[in-house]
């Protein structure tokens, strides 16, 4: 049999029960890995600017109360408390420009 050329950059790659030798793509390596959602972390669903903050750490807040205004695409988005709880920490200040999925407020 002809001598095969050595293939570089191979890794183990499992599909079902088979483990293949193959290369990965940049896109695959950079994929966003799934995490269980944590509803106590209030994240920005769109990149934008913090215009106003209505609560402070330690506040007891009822579900539905406005926590802050996140301006994005020229719209003032009201971010509301998802459930009754306490503000554990606030990670933004007025005027902050934040990316998507930035943890703005943590509640407990």
């Amino acid at each position: 049999m002809a001598k095969k050329k050595k293939i570089e950059g191979l890794v183990d790659f499992a599909i079902l029960s088979m483990k293949y030798k193959t290369r990965l793509t940049k896109k695959f390596e950079n994929r966003i890995k799934y995490e269980d959602p944590n509803f106590d972390l209030i994240k920005s669903y769109i990149p934008g600017t913090i215009l106003e903050i209505y609560v402070k750490e330690g506040d007891k807040v009822k579900a539905g109360k406005s926590l802050l205004i996140l301006e994005a695409m020229k719209m003032r988005n009201q971010i509301a408390m998802p459930r009754d709880g306490v503000i554990k920490s606030i990670n933004v200040v007025t005027g902050d420009k934040i990316p998507k999925n930035h943890v703005m407020i943590e509640i407990e």
Binding site: A2, L16, M18, K21, T22, K26, K27, F28, G48, M73
Partner: protein
Amino acid sequence: MSLKKHILDLRKRKEQVQKGGGDKAIEKQVARGKQTARARILALVDKDSFTEFDLFVEHEARDFGMDKKQLHGDGVIIGTGTIYGAPICIFAQDFTVEGGSLGLMHARKITKIMDHALKMRVPLIGINDSGGARIQEGVNALAGYGEIFYRNTMASGVIPQISVILGPCAGGAVYSPALTDFVFVVDKISKMFITGPSVIESVLGEKISMEDLGGARVHAETTGNAHFFSDSEAECFDQIKKLITFIPWNNSKKAKTFPPKQPKFKGNIEDLIPSDPKQPYDVRDVIKGIVDDSDFFEIQELWAANIVIGFGRLNGETVGFVANQPLVLAGVLDCDSSDKAARFIRYCDAFNIPIVTLEDMPGYLPGADQEHAGVIRHGAKVLYAYSEATVPKVTVILRKAYGGGYIAMNSRHLGADFMFAWPMAEIAVMGPEGAANIIFRKDIEEAEDADAMRAIKVQEYKDKFANPYVAAAKGYIDSVIEPNETRALLLHAIEVSINKDDHRPAKKHGIPPF
């Protein structure tokens, strides 16, 4: 004026207008590493074949001081020509004239040559190099884009449409290339995006360079918007010319045939492939071992490389190849590779190009990101495209065809005309290890030496199912073949399929999952 004077006057006028935006603007264009629009056309078409239309068109804008501006040809050059003797229509935006911006007359020229291409049933090539809509012309510019998109859609599947991005192509302008069949980009020169870096930064606060946002490499590797990537305009034009040799002029013709040639590859084709289905190899080597002159013209080489698509010739006739690539992500189907294969299959079907599928298929890519990105919807495109296609469809199963992947890759059940399998092909619901673990779970659990028992049961399953003969016994595979017979049998399959006449139920159009 004497006749002679008229002729001299015409020459003078032509010379003036052909300079486009003038010497200074041309100097700037060249300094950016770009050729002028006219030089590009002349570099692309056969010598002395370019015939220009509408050289003397002038814009009609009257506002914002535009009435005092003369824009030669209104920033775009259109005409007809030939490439290796094949007639084509072409337009090239001229960045030296008002940044190649698109106004009403500019758009009229483009739609005129598009109409001409469609009427004449010849390929259309568009060279895009434009700053975008000419803002001074307001909604007229937008109307122009819309009329171009409409014609792109009308011409789709009737004549080949090729877009060449040789400069910025931003905002609405990107949608014309996106509607065409093949998009060519050149490193450092091509830029495509809907909203540019400055808008993204001001609205979203995200900083990104133009190159990282929508440079040639991004579209060739990440987005899949581009089909061909090159390092220079000259290389890009060579790619376009080569593509033109592989495709027909329109959907009622076949691609030109060339004198048949043997592959350059000499040797045993099975030696290219490790017999262990878990070991990788480059499936392009197999294609090159089969096609005429070992000349395989790959499309979207850098994007979704886990599937390989492209053109080659068998006995001089153009054939479209679709092949799983074990070298990358084990050759799985995922969202991107499904998208890539499905569109190519539909292209081949529209333009009477037989499809050869080389299958070495481990299944679909598992992962929450894939499921959430819609691998169901994207994967369905492959099923749709293969089922819908009425051109000759031939499949060769090289080493494995597991699960849903077996069905998707042009199986008999989706209407394959010829199903060949190499003798080592494993055709099964899943790999032997997985299958044995499920079927013989109890035996394995209860055994004293579970691993030894598992090995026995895996072998048992392999002997029984992981071969092509179970499928062949049902007629799902027409023929189990020796690898070295592959080329001869493919040649035969294409030859005897020449009169294939397969019809679909009459309908306005189907609803493919895109």
